[in-house]
């Protein structure tokens, strides 16, 4: 009972924090929209300049941050619960690298953009996920092999990406590097729509599959005993999680560490081993705040959001390593 209350209150607090960050993110910028005018401007009230800036520029960007963060958070939570390993998030085991390599190929070689690019990076993510899983398979896929094979595959894909970059025009390269870092700069409605539609399908699927995930955490035999079709549930969950990571990567690039840190933070806040909705909210809040910092840190220059999450996320990974080392459960 207390867990339910705590989960509900944490979810509530996270939602309120997220909304506050959302409003601040819309309010701050070259043209400052007073916080009290943000909500009216979203619904088309207020002076025309504010309405344009909010409706056409800031709102899609803030929505993109929310959707991307939530998608990464969900994807990380599902992966980490499935593998029962906090390291098995899509950005560590190479899935984001696959999506990036495919997307850079699309940008640089095929000259694609828009929906085609989204589909291409989805394909890249799926193929990489299948590859990593198959290569790590040896009488079962231990999470130890999964993580190491993922690191190796990611390194090889990084080489492919940097090769593609040498083949491009310098202007495309600059664009591709921004994209590779993970960025929300200049996201418009046309960028938000595909991810929004995908989330409309994927989020309900995650919520429907959450009970199966809870059973899977008890171990395969127990889950089978309780009437779960283990292999089918696992396959569906992996597909949904890969699709979420790929969709978010297509919209904003492989933003470092959001998928990796969201679920552990949510679990810690909630105090239970599985926290799906809070993980999505933590991801959204992280993206909003990191994007705000990236926008405002240098004043005139907008940094890509991935730089902020990379600088903040890497020490967290190291801290996690050091901590698990001390209690002797690392590796």
């Amino acid at each position: 009972m207390t867990t339910v209350v705590r989960t509900a209150s944490v979810t509530g607090v996270l939602a309120v924090t997220g909304f506050a960050a959302f409003c601040v993110s819309i309010s701050v910028g070259e043209l400052r929209v007073p916080l009290t005018d943000v909500v009216p401007a979203i619904f088309g009230a207020g002076d025309p300049a504010a309405r344009f800036v909010v409706g056409e520029l800031r709102l899609p960007r803030a929505l993109a941050a929310v959707l991307v963060g939530a998608a990464f958070g969900l994807s990380g939570a599902v992966f980490q619960s499935l593998a029962r390993n906090p390291l098995a998030s899509p950005d560590i085991i190479g899935i984001s690298s696959g999506a990036s390599a495919a997307a850079v190929f699309g940008i640089v070689v095929l000259g694609w953009s828009g929906n085609g690019l989204v589909l291409l990076s989805l394909l890249g993510a799926l193929v990489t996920a299948a590859l990593v899983y198959a290569l790590a398979w040896k009488q079962g896929a231990s999470s130890y092999r999964l993580v190491l094979v993922g690191v190796g595959v990611a390194a090889a894909l990084a080489a492919v990406t940097s090769y593609l970059l040498t083949k491009a025009q310098i202007y495309d390269v600059q664009e591709a590097v921004v994209w590779l870092t993970g960025s929300l700069n200049g996201r418009l409605w046309s960028d938000v729509r595909p991810l929004g539609l995908a989330m409309l399908v994927l989020v309900p699927m995650v919520l429907l599959l959450t009970p199966s995930l809870r059973l899977l955490q008890l171990g395969d035999e127990t889950a089978t005993g309780l009437g779960l079709h283990v292999e089918r549930a696992r396959l569906l969950l992996v597909l949904v999680a890969v699709a979420l990571a790929a969709g978010a990567t297509a919209a904003a690039g492989p933003v470092a560490f959001v998928a990796f840190v969201s679920a552990p933070i949510a679990r810690r806040l909630v105090g239970s081993p599985l926290a799906i909705v809070p993980a999505a909210l933590v991801g959204a809040v992280l993206m909003l705040v990191a994007d705000l910092v990236a926008r405002e840190l240098l004043g005139t220059v907008e940094l890509p959001v991935g730089i902020v999450t990379g600088i903040v996320g890497a020490p967290y990974l190291l801290w996690l390593l050091a901590r698990s080392n001390r209690i002797g459960s690392g590796g």
Binding site: A159, Q174, T181, T309, P315, L318
Partner: protein, 336 residues
């Protein structure tokens, strides 16, 4: 018997050196424009100013081959020493973030501090490599478990991601540096300044001597710290010396050819498969085999993408990644 074995080992090593010489000749002869071996030798022995092929050989192919030789030998040796010191079969300058440290420091030097000239870069590459390797090993080894493969690989991945974020931030603010960086960061031995090769020579030499001399100590360390100590080894000193050699070798190789992955990782395993676990032999074998891989990859890169070229870093990644996966799949790995 032991003498006999050593003689055989030496003989095989000389055979390997012979093969390396052949690879070197191929590297000078093969390219967008194929040059017969006779002309190559002629260009080296009696250079003629009027002959076109001689100019290609002397000004393009030879420097490129020398870069490949030096960088390859350095990465192979550094990989073997790293694997010995960390007792970790997956240690590699690329995966463990040492190359990312060198890259970061280099970009910092060029972009923010406005350094020009290779001599200044080199010190930055060294400093970056040193700081990153200390950080990764220190963070990966905290606690009682020691530095297991997974911990080191992840500490390397984390440091790499962190440094990459900072490097990218600097590159995005400076298009000129980005344009240079993208060609350097892919890992290439082509078009390097001959003066730079000469200036880096002493670093390669000192690093290689330190690394080769570390063989007996690495053998003792392989038995565990306690045994090594009881054999009279000064472990702390040995580790520092080995680390200095790795930093010199990786720093110089990275400054010269960019971050080239997987060479330092795979070659020591091949050397071990050939000659056994004795580091006194693994080290020289790595030093001979690694340039073979690097120059061979470079030649392949010149041939497969005609009329263009594939940079050597791409080819080594394509060859090395499957070997890495194979190593991970071996069961014994976890206990090393």
């Amino acid at each position: 018997m032991a003498v006999q074995t050593h003689r055989w080992r030496l003989a095989w090593l000389l055979v390997a050196v012979g093969v390396l010489v052949l690879v070197v000749l191929a590297s000078v002869a093969v390219g967008t424009r194929s040059i017969p071996v006779g002309t190559v030798l002629d260009a080296l022995v009696h250079p003629s100013a009027t002959e076109d092929a001689h100019a290609v050989v002397r000004s393009l192919r030879v420097p490129r081959t020398v870069v490949g030789l030096l960088a390859g030998a350095a990465l192979g040796l550094a990989g073997a020493v790293m694997q010995g010191v960390t007792r970790n079969p997956l240690a590699d300058p690329g995966l463990l973030g040492v190359s990312a440290g060198a890259s970061f420091a280099l970009v910092l030097g060029i972009s923010v501090l406005g350094l020009t000239g290779p001599v200044a870069y080199v010190w930055f590459a060294f400093a970056g490599a040193a700081v990153a390797s200390v950080l990764v090993y220190g963070l990966g080894a905290i606690g009682s478990g020691g530095a297991t493969p997974v911990k080191l690989a992840l500490a390397g991945a984390a440091i790499t991601a962190f440094l990459l974020s900072m490097t990218t931030a600097m590159l995005l603010l400076d298009q000129r540096t980005l344009d240079e960086y993208r060609f350097w960061s892919v890992g290439s031995v082509a078009g390097r300044d001959p003066d730079l090769i000469a200036q880096l020579g002493p670093f390669f030499a000192v690093g290689a001597l330190l690394a080769l001399a570390a063989g007996p100590v690495l053998n003792s360390l392989a038995l565990g710290d306690d045994v090594a100590r009881s054999l009279g080894r000064r472990i702390g000193l040995a580790r520092v010396t080995a680390a200095v050699s790795v930093v010199l070798l990786v720093g110089a190789a990275t400054a010269l050819a960019g971050p080239i992955g997987f060479v330092g990782l795979t070659i020591p395993h091949v050397a071990r498969a050939i000659t056994g676990p004795d580091y006194r032999w693994v080290l020289p074998w790595s030093m001979v085999l690694a340039p073979m891989l690097l120059l061979g990859s470079d030649v392949i890169g010149r041939v497969v993408a005609r009329p263009g070229e594939l940079q050597v870093g791409i080819v080594t990644a394509v060859i090395g990644a499957p070997i890495f996966v194979m190593l991970v799949r071996q069961r014994r790995l976890a206990e090393l």
